[in-house]
Symmetry: C2
Subunit: 276 residues, 2 copies
């Protein structure tokens, strides 16, 4: 496995290589990331992983400065997974000048976009830059960041990028909590409370499967149950998988998404469901 | 030479080809375009030319509907120039759904951007799409559209596209008028008047070379001389080649840019100059 930290080294390494499969990450890797690299490896292509905490996608009051950076440990894990190349550039390397060309995605005011202004423009812009550097044939994104996955798929389609996007299933702890680097911020009490987020999504899923049709009531009840346990809820929302907007009456392929905070720590999760 | 009109045909044709040199056009080709294709050919790479009148870069009151479309004649010219591939997609082919991912460029309120809201976002977005489809190693843009050339260079740099941008010199009629498809809109009287635009730029260039330091006065005098001959002037502006903003006192590499209308026809031109 090679670790490269500059654009010019990266280009050199990729020159003559089969178009790779690419897994962009912010590092601090856990089993969720490793599942993505295994999915990447199964394509048979050389696997390139990027490790980059992208300042452009953090708001001024968010956790950019304290986001965990553990490159040496990440590399040890990736080496064991058979990854060919790790690209871990410094901020100065990806942004040698202020980034003035931004990709403006749609749905910027929906779901997480409503609570993180500029977040998805920052995500789409860095992913486009990384795509242009790595030039992968395939890229893998986790379903945990559902809106991100949706927007990357749409960006690839609308900007005519010749890249297949694979979706990785969310990896969970035994108690159901979706793995996330931000889980490390939780106190023991908060960690014990955190699985409620997914349980609430499952409860909505069960009610929908049982034929409940009042989506607003389900969302409100779910929110209430979180608030009652000291969560600050950004949203709980039942959406169309196809559009990520409110579902049409006939739509069966839904996704329930939620974002809520325990103390300073913001957790997100989602649950796809296909009604019969 | 092959003419392809769909994305899938294009991808097929490009498969296995040496990374080409690309000349994007809106068709209705004149000697200015042909000079770009010759410059492209001189790279030794296969030449791909696109012919596409991009609705995204026209304002609602602009000339999208009446912009001249002359594909058969364009193909005859390009065949003679040794072009390998012409990509002339229908609007539906490049925009099968409403384009919601837009590249937002900087300098959007400067120069032509101030008078054509959304124009450069439309240009950058379609060029990025075409780059992703054609995947050229080199692309050629004319200096006639100076702000466009500046922004495309900046986009390539900021989005890490592995493409060399070549600048083509403006081709002029014997009387100095820059060649443009829009010249065809001019009445005989307007056509006789039109070379004044370039003469005014040359006059500014001569005054700057002679040591005149009051840029605002030069701009105002040039504007006045156009207005006196029935031009409606959008701007006459002396800028830095490096930033396309107002030059710093020490800057020597300048460009004088102008946009003005004769009747309904909007003409643009520019003149680079390096002060001693």
């Amino acid at each position: 496995m090679r670790l490269v930290q500059t654009v010019s080294e990266l280009r050199q390494c990729l020159d003559g290589l089969t178009p790779p499969v690419f897994v962009p990450t912010m590092g601090n890797l856990h089993e969720g990331h490793l599942a993505l690299t295994r999915q990447a490896r199964a394509t048979g292509r050389p696997v390139v992983v990027s490790v980059f905490v992208n300042p452009l996608q953090f708001g001024p009051d968010e956790d950019y400065a304290r986001y965990p950076r553990t490159l040496a440990a990440d590399c040890a894990l990736l080496e064991r997974e058979g990854v060919e190349l790790v690209f871990a550039p410094a901020v100065q390397e990806l942004y040698p000048e202020p980034q003035r060309f931004m990709v403006q995605p749609p749905l910027a005011d929906e779901l997480c976009g409503a609570f993180r202004p500029g977040h998805f423009a920052g995500v789409c812009t860095v992913v486009l830059k990384l795509f242009n550097l790595v030039r992968p044939a395939v890229a893998v994104f986790g379903k945990k960041d559902y809106q991100q996955l949706f927007l990357i798929r749409a960006m690839v389609r609308q900007l005519n990028l010749p890249i297949d996007i694979l979706a990785g299933e969310t990896v969970r702890a035994a108690d159901g909590l979706a793995l996330s680097s931000r889980n490390a911020y939780l106190s023991p009490e908060q960690r014990a409370e955190a699985p409620r987020l997914y349980r609430v999504l499952q409860w909505i899923g069960a009610r929908l499967a049982a034929g409940e049709a009042d989506l607003a009531e389900l969302e409100a009840a779910a929110r209430q149950s979180l608030v009652a346990h000291d969560w600050q809820v950004d949203y709980v929302s039942i959406r169309s998988q196809a559009t990520l907007l409110a579902p049409q009456p006939h739509e069966r392929d839904l996704v329930v998404l939620a974002a809520a905070r325990l103390g300073q720590t913001r957790l997100i999760d989602n649950l796809e469901l296909s009604l019969p």
